[in-house]
């Protein structure tokens, strides 16, 4: 980046002094409950996401335990369905999205030279309603009849006429998650729009800021759609409407159109910030400017716009007219183009750089390869006639876990290692981080790669028991799952170790790092950029 501050050095010192002066904050629990500081709120989001990642992960362990061998051994089919449903909801709304919001809170103000988020009190609220949303969702598992069991996609009429009363709790919990996301998104947009430091014009913004800016627009556009949808489910179930009931003039397929009109942009909500992270990490460790910055911005915007035109590719088997099907097939294939541009740009950034391979870089490189594999299976899924064979099988499960786990989650882990020294002031334990990386890389592929084969061989998703031919692969997948889960304990160990001490980090942390966040000391003072930096 060509971004530099022009503040004189002694001014900086004075600045630091002022920051110390401002550093008053309540201690103990009150600090976290009342905080309006973007760094505190970012930390809250990240810690919350980590806890949710482990809760959702333990549900995946229950799923994999039952699927370890054919036959029903450990749980009932009804409980199994609750696990697949709540696992999905928690990972999407509780782990990946809050983790990205946490990173946005921490990094966006520092990257654009703003003192804080634009709407700090709303920021506090948007975080603190989240734990209650998930408390409601998790407690619903203990209701008579159990929690939601209709899959995270909650297709009607399984979620309306045929669901139990936990549906009401599910609806309110999703409403709260949605409100939180919308407020978070408003905050990101207002901050980026209004609070950029002088000279930080649009085409100088770091890509992480750009991708989050576009993501925030997606959120504002689609979260209300989800809110409308869950409300329709609620009224269909309890107040006698028939949006999705043919007997009353409704249509169950209408549900899927609305859901995926939210759901497909939602997929990009969970991957665009990842693109931003990788676009920050690769240039740093390649010690070379990002290739094709402008085309990265345009590609991100194109993906965001196209994401509104492809929703029905999740619904090829619902029996749409053939011309609608063709439209959605072509539009879906088209998305491969801007996504390809991104991958090519990252590789071109690496080309003739001078690379080193610290943990953030390792996760970013794994991201590029494994996310692209997820992209390939996505391209295969776009070919509608073939999709009839892939749809609702483990091939799809493999596809979206490559995109979401080795895509989104790997990018979040990369981001955490990348910025952890800035947050804590200490370097993380590199050896431990490398262990975490290699264990995760191997186990995640043991876990998800065989799912492609199981799916092609014909195993449907969301089943608690399966035909004997799938037995060996499922046992293998379950062991991979267990190892991936255990590998994440190394991550937690490394995080705790880094938070408690370690080699002191410099302000720049990484030799090749450029950008405003690397101009402030490590750890970043409680208040940064009270006086905006000037960017040439």
């Amino acid at each position: 980046m060509s971004v530099t501050t022009t503040e004189p050095h002694d001014h900086d010192k004075q600045h630091d002094h002022e920051q110390e002066h401002h550093d008053h904050k309540p201690s103990g629990i009150k600090r976290w409950l009342y905080t309006t500081n973007h760094k505190d709120i970012g930390t809250l989001y990240l810690v919350f996401a980590l806890i949710m990642f482990f809760i959702g992960g333990s549900m995946a362990m229950v799923i994999r335990l039952e699927l370890f061998q054919p036959g029903m051994q450990f749980v009932e089919p009804h409980f199994f369905n609750q696990m697949t449903t709540v696992h999905g909801l928690i990972m999407v709304f509780g782990a990946v999205m809050p983790a990205f919001t946490g990173l946005a809170n921490w990094m966006i103000p520092m990257m654009i030279g703003a003192p804080d988020m634009a709407l700090p009190r709303m920021n506090n609220w948007s975080f603190w309603i989240l734990p209650f949303a998930f408390l409601i969702l998790l407690l619903s598992l203990f209701m008579p009849g159990g929690g939601p069991s209709f899959g995270w996609t909650f297709y009607a009429p399984l979620s309306t006429t045929y669901s139990n009363d936990s549906t009401a709790l599910f609806v309110f919990s999703v409403h709260i998650m949605g409100i939180s996301s919308i407020m978070g998104a408003i905050n990101v947009i207002v901050t980026i729009w209004n609070m950029r430091a002088p000279g930080m014009n649009w085409m100088k913004m770091p890509l992480f800021v750009w991708t989050w800016f576009i993501t925030a627009f997606l959120l504002i556009m689609v979260m209300p759609v989800l809110a409308g949808l869950v409300t329709m489910v609620l009224t269909d179930k309890y107040f006698g409407t028939s949006f999705f009931d043919a007997a009353g003039g409704g249509d169950p397929v209408l549900f899927q159109h609305i859901f995926w009109f939210f759901g497909h942009p939602e997929v990009y909500i969970m991957i665009l910030p990842a693109f931003g992270i990788v676009s920050a990490i690769i240039p740093t460790f390649a010690r070379k400017r990002l290739f094709g910055y402008a085309s990265m911005v345009y590609a991100t915007a194109s993906i965001a716009i196209l994401s509104f035109l492809v929703w029905a590719h999740h619904m090829f088997t619902t029996g749409m007219p053939v011309f609608a099907t063709l439209f959605f097939m072509y539009a879906t294939m088209l998305i491969a183009v801007p996504t390809g541009v991104k991958v090519f740009n990252w590789v071109a950034t690496m080309w003739r750089g001078a690379m080193t391979f610290e943990v953030p870089m390792m996760f970013a490189l794994a991201f590029i390869v494994l996310f692209t594999i997820g992209g390939f299976s996505g391209l295969m899924l776009a070919i509608t006639p073939a999709d009839f064979q892939y749809h609702d099988t483990y091939f799809v499960v493999a596809h979206f876990h490559y995109v979401l786990v080795t895509g989104s989650v790997f990018s979040i882990i990369a981001a955490v290692y990348y910025w952890l020294p800035k947050w804590t002031g200490n370097m993380y334990d590199e050896a431990l981080g490398q262990w975490h990386f290699w264990c995760s890389l191997i186990s995640v592929n043991l876990l998800f790669f065989p799912m492609h084969f199981v799916g092609l061989a014909g195993m449907p998703r969301r089943i608690p028991d399966y035909a004997l031919q799938f037995a060996d692969f499922n046992a293998f997948i379950s062991i991979g799952g267990l190892l991936f889960g255990l590998s994440q304990l190394i991550f937690v160990w490394g995080l705790i170790k880094c938070a408690r001490g370690g080699v002191k980090a410099t302000a720049q942390v990484w030799e090749g790092a450029e950008g405003l966040e690397w101009e402030v000391p490590s750890p970043a003072p409680y208040h940064t950029f009270d006086t905006p930096p000037v960017i040439k």
Binding site: H78, S149, T317, A354, S377, Q389, T393, F473
Partner: protein, 380 residues
Amino acid sequence: MAKTRSIRWSLPTLLLALSANAAAMPLNMTKGVTEISQEVYSLHMTIFWICCVIGAVVFGIMFVSILLHRKSRGVQPAQFHESTKVEILWTAIPVVILIAMAIPATKTLIAMDDTSAADVTVLVTGSQWKWHYKYLGSDLEYFSVLATPREQINNRFAKGENYLLEVDRPLVIPTGQKIRFLMTSDDVIHSWWVPAFAIKKDANPGFINEAWTRVDEPGIYRGQCAELCGKDHGFMPIVVIAKSPDDYALWKVAEETRIANAKAAEQELLAMNMDMGELMANGERTYIAYCAACHQPNGAGLPGIFAALAGSALILNDKSAHIDIVLNGKSGTAMQAFGRQLSLKELASVLTYTRNAWGNDTGDAVQAAEVYKVQQGKGE
């Protein structure tokens, strides 16, 4: 004991078992047995190889870069960071590849959509958790239910070869003829999937979807419900037998005779009284096959989702309401109308059984005639 031993066994020998049994599971999509399914397979392989080639090129360049352009080799980073020419090139090439791919995909898709001029039409109706097949233009219709015994699912018996992929009455179709399927559902969304035909089509309640196939090879083809449809989604398989047109015609006559005989037997049954022991024994069998999935083998139901029958006020206090709910179901719940699924004998038996099992000691024996009367009364 047996369970824990088998788990312990599979852990250390897993890798060994994998290499030994790998042939048991095909690693690729089935080619199937229809022209369409083979077109689908070749589309799948084409896009797969395209992805492989792109992957080899992109990852190849990336790994060469990782190998050569590392700081430890003392290289200096280059300064370039854009090139309009290259960027246009790598936008245009994928567009061309995608267009080349879209053409055959479009052709196959349009062919799949043409359900006209069918020789046989079958109405496929999904319900929790069974399939119903009705041959349009004839009286032939029946339910098709999972045939794998509970004991195999619960690991008490060894699992059979077609574990979870076997049904009591498969769908039978003639080879060499165009079969049109009309899909619908009685409750939630199901999806009828037979990989060998490359057909996967949702069965939506209140709407009808169409699909078609023409199978040339006689054989047995297995599939499963592909859309999450509630608790026993994993337990509603599909079996299709393709017979030569002659065998098919013979089978159809035999089935129609069987159905006619059963109807005649029902009429005879109306005049007879079955004794309590027979009713209870029949009733238990029917209950386990049709009711226990929801109401549980012990009649306790699942609190909050499926009503308990043991000690149920409706059963104990209101016999006619009990018969009515079994015959006609309860709208807005998962309770189906069993009047059209079960024979009079089965209905009478299961009613008797549920009125007398698990401490529901009403002492009532419900006879076929009584059920018939309620059924006819409703019909008028």
